[in-house]
């Protein structure tokens, strides 16, 4: 494929967010969209993620982003014409502390007020959903049946292929080295394969969001944090929902093909681009799993890996443009929920770039909130 010299929009990053943004731009009639990816599609956080999808959140914004994305995920295979591996077995949230359970109950009330049909359930009901669940020590549970998980690879490739069908050009192994800004306007990008002139760039660089923003002279307080995960051999279905606990610090899911995928948040929150795996994680995760689902003791772990959460000071994303530069946009800093928010993010970003009316307000996701001290406090994160 010949390299492009001009574009109407350049999307930087071939993860699920960049591919969703590019697809939605093309779907809304934007011609000449180019995606630049320094490695292969899904090589960043996306290909290393748990791909959990939920609407059980503790802030109005996250609930709205969550349920809007679930609604898109539910019809995405039809829309894109390719499988995305969606499994809606619900999220079963487990509280081990009374204070935590109180918060979960408040979250459910908020979710219900926004039309999300989540509920507080008893230990017996939890065991009906997952018969092998060890409920020792748990003080309460909440459940929402439309939550679930997808396949991050299939979803991203589906967005990318659908985007290509609509004329989007995707260049892999192409790194953006600089963004050209003149007179307060974006003029183009410089890559290791040459320059592309464009009036619009969308920074969807995931773990490298800060570095890419700096190319345009924009300073954002994002940083990357290493999170580990592992997968077991496949077995018959024994656990339908995603199991998650904020104080228990874990998420555990069984994929439709039978493998369990799981992870937990790191002890120290070090800023790093490293994605190496550790033995400590393997042992600790195995302990959490075998305690929660005792029959899994006989399962074999086949692979472990790590990836980056792109963090912000309030663990909420930055989505929008900037006052200083016309044509510069970003959708970054998704911490542990960029996969589940990618469908609605693509829609909103494309509406913003094309000056259309937005389906949901995004003002509170501006990067200026950190200067203004208007952080979004979300009580429900791993």
């Amino acid at each position: 494929m010949d390299f492009k010299r001009t574009a109407d929009v350049v999307v930087i990053g071939g993860g699920v967010v960049g591919c969703s943004v590019a697809y939605n731009l093309a779907k809304r009639g934007c011609k000449n969209v180019v995606v630049l990816e320094k490695s292969y599609i899904t090589s960043g956080s996306t290909g290393r993620c748990g791909a959990g999808i939920r609407a059980q959140w503790g802030t109005e914004m996250n609930c709205k982003f969550g349920i809007a994305s679930i609604e898109i995920f539910e019809h995405l295979e039809e829309e894109l014409g390719l499988p995305i591996g969606l499994h809606q077995g619900g999220y079963l949230v487990i509280a081990y502390k009374e204070s935590e359970f109180d918060q979960l109950k408040k979250n459910v009330a908020l979710q219900n007020s926004l039309g999300i049909k989540s509920k507080v359930i008893s230990a017996d009901e939890a065991k009906e959903i997952v018969p092998i669940l060890n409920v020792d020590g748990a003080v309460g549970f909440t459940f929402h049946d439309r939550d679930g998980h997808g396949d991050p690879f299939l979803t991203t490739f589906a967005y990318a292929e659908a985007a290509r069908r609509l004329g989007v050009e995707i260049f892999t192994y192409t790194e953006v080295k600089d963004i050209i800004v003149e007179g307060g306007k974006v003029k183009g990008v410089i890559t290791d394969r040459g320059g592309i002139s464009t009036p619009v760039v969308v920074n969807c660089a995931g773990p490298w969001s800060k570095e890419v923003a700096a190319m345009a002279g924009i300073s954002i307080p994002t940083y990357s944090e290493r999170h580990e995960a592992l997968i077991t051999e496949p077995v018959n279905r024994i656990s339908e929902p995603m199991l998650i606990s904020f104080t228990g610090n874990f998420y555990i899911q069984q994929r439709p093909h039978g493998s369990f995928i799981m992870g937990y948040g790191p002890e120290e929150h070090e800023e790093t681009h490293r994605v190496n795996s550790t033995w400590v994680f393997l042992e600790e995760m195995a302990r959490k799993l075998s305690n929660l689902l005792p029959p899994t003791r006989d399962l074999r772990v086949v692979r472990q890996w790590a990836g980056s959460y792109n963090m912000t000071p309030d663990a909420q994303p930055i989505v929008g443009g900037v006052e200083e530069i016309e044509g510069y946009y970003m959708a970054v800093g998704f911490s542990g929920h960029g996969f589940m928010f990618s469908p609605i993010t693509g829609v909103l970003m494309s509406q913003l770039v094309l000056s259309e009316e937005l389906d949901l307000p995004i003002d509170m996701l501006s990067y200026k909130r950190f200067e203004r001290g208007e952080l979004i406090v979300e009580p429900a994160v791993v």
């Binding site: 899904t42 690879f153 051999e233 093909h257 302990r287 799993l289 305690n291």
Partner: protein
């Protein structure tokens, strides 16, 4: 009777992926073994592609006309052999 063809050959025994499926994604434009692994799951099984990886790289080379050494090779990830959850959990007790 339907004829058994090359396409029916299972290249990835761990994840049950046939040569036909690999050829299909190559035809759809996926020529990077990293992407082929992630879209078909070939190479993600318990043996982590020790059996199937080279077959896939050869198929990409054959169809695209590229040399084997021009094709990026997926990485092996730990553990190098599957380990039981129970055994790992005991170690941390």
């Amino acid at each position: 009777m339907e004829k058994f063809t090359d396409d029916d050959v299972i290249v990835c025994r761990c994840e049950d992926v046939t040569l036909g499926q690999i050829r299909e994604v190559i035809r759809r434009g996926y020529t990077d073994p990293e992407e082929i692994k992630r879209i078909t799951r070939a190479g993600m099984g318990p043996c982590q592609g020790k059996t199937c990886r080279d077959i896939i790289i050869r198929e990409v080379a054959r169809i695209t006309g590229k040399r084997i050494d021009e094709i990026p090779v997926p990485t092996y990830r730990p553990p190098s052999k599957p380990i039981k959850v129970g055994l790992l959990a005991e170690e941390s007790d």
